[in-house]
């Protein structure tokens, strides 16, 4: 007993190596939640002479919520497009589950387990809610041409399972409307939910949300925060681009700040809030008289 206490005292003693540092809990990086999922290393994206992203590095683990913030035009969406395979980084690399994504087709990146939503909701407009979600199961659904033409029992089984799964995801995100409606008939907040359900239906290990809170009212935002946490509990890693600081501060475990394509800070919400460079980027530099 006494030995053990001594032992623990010793370790404690070792941790508090810097007497006087008051923010000890934030200075120690949070222990990783799960396996390393995404690793962005020194990513540069360039359009002609414009450097949209100029050196961005961050890691995401399973079950972790990371936010990427920055003023308008800071390169957040460009970074997302690069991670999901629409742009090729001019320098640096993107590793997902240990594999380099920089030369991979977007559909294969999705199959590896990455999904995203868009800044402006991009659902398939002429399709019903259910069909939108079912499209996301494309790569996992096995039906051959003869089955679909002849409507064999195998076709019916596959379609039924697909429908059930899709309904499951719609329930998960709390969609309360009619799943047979065209998505364009839904209110905006519901469309956002359907888009998240569609992304989840690809069974992602990592979910990228591009401004999921845009255009939502206060209670919808609270529901969104609850949903993001619920998704994290599935073990999915989440990367969030968001302008609403309240939402970001409440939900994120770590925040990466971009300004003019450059990464200017990476830390916990508490650190970010007090980082002079972040404050400067958002509010402008204080004049030194």
């Amino acid at each position: 007993m006494s030995e053990k206490t001594e032992e623990s005292e010793k370790t404690e003693g070792r941790q508090v190596a810097l007497p006087g540092s008051t923010d000890a809990p934030t200075a120690v990086p949070l222990p990783p939640k799960g396996d390393l999922l995404l690793s962005v290393k020194d990513m540069h994206v360039q359009f002609g002479g414009v450097k949209a992203v100029d050196g961005l590095s961050f890691d995401v683990h399973e079950g972790e919520i990371i936010s990427v913030i920055g003023p308008n035009g800071a390169g957040k969406t460009s970074a997302f497009n690069c991670i999901t395979g629409f742009y090729r980084p001019s320098k640096g690399s993107v590793l997902f589950a240990g594999r380099n994504l920089t030369r991979m087709r977007p559909s294969n990146i999705t199959k590896l387990g990455m999904a995203r939503t868009f800044q402006n909701v991009r659902l398939f407009k002429d399709m019903s809610v259910l069909e939108n979600v079912k499209t996301a199961m494309h790569s996992r659904l096995k039906e051959n041409v003869l089955d679909t033409l002849l409507h064999t029992p195998r076709y019916h089984r596959a379609e039924r399972q697909c429908t059930l799964d899709a309904q499951g995801w719609l329930d998960f995100v709390g969609f309360g409307g009619d799943e047979e409606h065209l998505v364009t008939q839904l209110p905006y907040g519901e469309q956002r939910r359907v888009e998240i359900a569609r992304a989840l239906a690809t069974k992602p290990r990592l979910l990228l949300l591009d401004e999921p809170g845009a255009g939502l009212n206060h209670s919808e935002k609270q529901a969104l925060i609850a949903l993001i946490r619920k998704i994290r509990e599935l073990g999915v890693g989440i990367v969030l681009i968001e302008h609403d600081m309240g939402l970001v501060m409440e939900v994120s475990e770590r925040i990466v700040v971009l300004n003019y394509g450059k990464e200017i800070a990476d830390g916990t919400p508490h650190q970010i809030k007090n980082d002079p460079k972040v404050i400067e980027a958002y509010l402008g530099a204080e004049d030194d008289d």
């Binding site: 087709r105 559909s107 999705t110 409507h151």
Partner: protein, 297 residues
């Protein structure tokens, strides 16, 4: 009157089969595939060759042999369609649309004059001629082959509708037509689905080609030109990019032609058909079933 309607529906079902390919390809990659009519011509010539090689069986077994030939020709033209897309259109997918359009016109010439090199410029006589004793129904003169061909056309369209509206592949096709980028992110292999669309469209055009050969009896290397334009007209009338629109447009164009020639005389047939195209483009460019107008060429 019944006769006119029947004739219109009969010709219209050919138009519809060809128009479907036009419309599906336009819907999915926004390309007016001007080589499409020539795939129809290629279908006729494939049928012509295949039937020529089994001419011993013709006579008693005409219909079953014709069906088999139809199927083989569809596989062949479908494959050609996939190759055309891969060779001529895919490398240009991200170039301006006009470039692809010109390539399509070029592809059309390649097919036409390639066939002319092989089979010569003069018309060929199809080895099978589907004629038959007419049946009279409500004063209309209908032949058995006409009924068979229309049933085949209807069956093809029925299966297509089922495929596009109710299957995983169909969902993928429609999702690409609506938003290609988002489809990619849902794990849809866009290239594969586009290939498949070309296969289906070209196979249907090939089927129409064989059927037309068997019905009209004579084929030549330029036969695809006018039907290509007619199919385009049908697709525009129905609302281009819309599957049901293509079917409806084909039948409507067939009926318009049938009544138009009855009033104006046979030599006005094409004039009347293309006047309809112009009228639709000026007054209802979205067609009967189309809605969005923003993304038209």
């Amino acid at each position: 009157m019944t006769q006119l309607i029947w004739n219109g529906l009969f010709v219209g079902s050919f138009y519809a089969l060809v128009a479907i390919g036009y419309s599906m390809v336009y819907g999915i990659i926004k390309l007016l595939n001007f080589a499409h009519g020539d795939v129809y011509m290629l279908g006729s010539f494939t049928g012509f060759l295949l039937l020529g090689s089994v001419s011993g069986l013709l006579g008693t077994w005409s219909l079953p042999v014709l069906l088999l030939v139809l199927l083989l020709s569809m596989l062949f033209t479908g494959t050609i369609g996939v190759i055309i897309e891969k060779v001529a259109y895919r490398p240009l997918r991200s170039s301006p649309r006009l470039a692809v359009l010109i390539t399509a016109v070029g592809m059309s010439f390649v097919l036409e004059y390639g066939i002319r090199q092989i089979f010569g410029p003069s018309p060929r006589v199809f080895p099978v001629r589907l004629a038959g004793d007419p049946i009279f129904f409500l004063d209309a003169r209908i032949t058995l082959p006409q009924i068979v061909l229309m049933v085949i056309a209807a069956a093809l369209m029925y299966f297509l509708q089922r495929y596009v509206m109710k299957s995983r592949e169909g969902r993928a096709m429609r999702s690409i037509a609506l938003d290609t980028q988002a489809s990619l992110l849902m794990g849809v292999n866009v290239n594969k689905v586009i290939s498949r669309t070309f296969f289906i469209g070209s196979a249907l055009a090939g089927a129409a080609g064989v059927m037309a050969g068997a019905y009209y009896g004579s084929i030549d290397f330029l036969m695809g030109f006018i039907i290509g334009l007619k199919a385009f007209t049908a697709a525009v009338i129905g609302g281009i990019g819309n599957l049901y629109g293509a079917m409806l447009g084909g039948l409507v164009l067939g009926l318009l032609e049938s009544f138009g020639t009855n009033w104006l005389g046979g030599q006005w047939r094409d004039v009347f058909a293309f006047a309809c195209l112009i009228a639709f483009l000026s007054f209802k460019p979205t067609g009967l079933l189309g809605e969005r107008v923003s993304e038209r060429m």
